[in-house]
C-alpha cells in the first residue's frame, strides 16, 4: 500500500511517500501501527483532529476500512483558494 504525506505531516515524518506492508483493517489501525514505529510518526499523528485522510484520493473518516485500498494519504485541513 502506498502511503503519502503532505504539508507539515510530510515535513514531520520526513518523506513524501512510502510503501507500507500492513494487516491494518482500518485507517485508525494503520495510524496506531505507524505511530508505534517511530517518534516522528507518533508526533505527526498525535492529534487526529488536526489531520485529514484520503483513501484512493477520496476524503474519508479515520474509521474507514482499508480493504482494497491502494493509496492512503495523510495531511492537514486544506487551505486552497
Amino acid at each position: 500500500m502506498d502511503v503519502l504525506y503532505f504539508a507539515w505531516v510530510r515535513e514531520r515524518i520526513g518523506i513524501p511517500r512510502e510503501q507500507v506492508e500492513t494487516e491494518a483493517a482500518t485507517v485508525a489501525e494503520l495510524v496506531a501501527e505507524l505511530s508505534a514505529r517511530e517518534d516522528r510518526y507518533a508526533a505527526a499523528f498525535a492529534d487526529l483532529s488536526a489531520l485529514r485522510v484520503a483513501l484512493d484520493q477520496d476524503l474519508m473518516d479515520f474509521d474507514a476500512s482499508l480493504a482494497g485500498v491502494r493509496e492512503v494519504a495523510f495531511f492537514p485541513p486544506m487551505t486552497g483558494g
Binding site: 503519502l4 503532505f6 504539508a7 507539515w8 510530510r10 484520503a54 484520493q57 477520496d58 476524503l59 494519504a73 495531511f75 492537514p76 485541513p77 486544506m78 487551505t79 486552497g80 483558494g81
Partner: protein, 148 residues
C-alpha cells in the same frame, strides 16, 4: 467546463474575457480571483502552495460537476496554481455563467467554499525574517459548507 491545475501563472483578464465570450446566451458571468496578500504589513517574502496531484483534479472536477447539477449554469471554470508565488500574484480563479445572476453568484460561492475545504492544496508562507509557517485552516471555512 474547464479545470486547470498548473504551476504557471494564468492571465486573469484573458481567461475572464474568453470565458464570458464563450458563455453565449448566459447573460450573467461571475468571477472570483484569489491573490497572494501580505501576511502583515510588508512581512511576506513568498508563498508556496503544495498539492496532491491526481486528487486535486479529481476533487475540483467533482465540486464543479456538483455546481453544474445544482444551478442552471451555461459554463464553469476553475484554475488553481501550485508552487512558489509572490505578493500580488494571482493564485486561482473560478468563473460561472448563467441566465440568472443569482445562479451565477451562488454557484461561484459554492465553488469557492468547497474548493477551500475540500481540494487538497496547502499554503506555506515564507516571511522576510526567515520564518515560515503553514497557513492554518479557518473554522469559518469549514462552517461555510453548512450553508449548502
Amino acid at each position: 467546463m474547464k479545470i486547470a491545475v498548473q504551476q504557471a501563472p494564468f492571465d486573469f483578464g484573458a481567461e475572464a474575457e474568453a470565458f464570458s465570450a464563450g458563455a453565449t446566451g448566459a447573460g450573467a458571468v461571475v468571477t472570483f480571483t484569489g491573490v497572494v496578500r501580505d501576511a502583515e504589513e510588508g512581512s511576506l517574502s513568498a508563498m508556496e502552495i503544495e498539492h496532491y496531484p491526481g486528487m486535486t483534479e479529481r476533487a475540483l472536477t467533482k465540486i464543479t460537476e456538483e455546481a453544474m447539477r445544482r444551478w442552471s449554469l451555461a459554463d464553469a471554470l476553475v484554475i488553481h496554481r501550485y508552487g512558489r508565488m509572490e505578493t500580488g500574484d494571482q493564485i486561482m480563479m473560478v468563473a460561472t455563467a448563467s441566465r440568472h445572476r443569482k445562479d451565477a453568484f451562488e454557484a461561484a460561492e459554492y465553488l469557492m467554499d468547497y474548493l477551500k475545504s475540500r481540494a487538497p492544496f496547502w499554503k506555506k508562507e515564507f516571511l522576510k525574517n526567515g520564518n515560515s509557517d503553514w497557513v492554518e485552516a479557518k473554522d469559518a471555512d469549514e462552517d461555510a459548507l453548512t450553508r449548502w
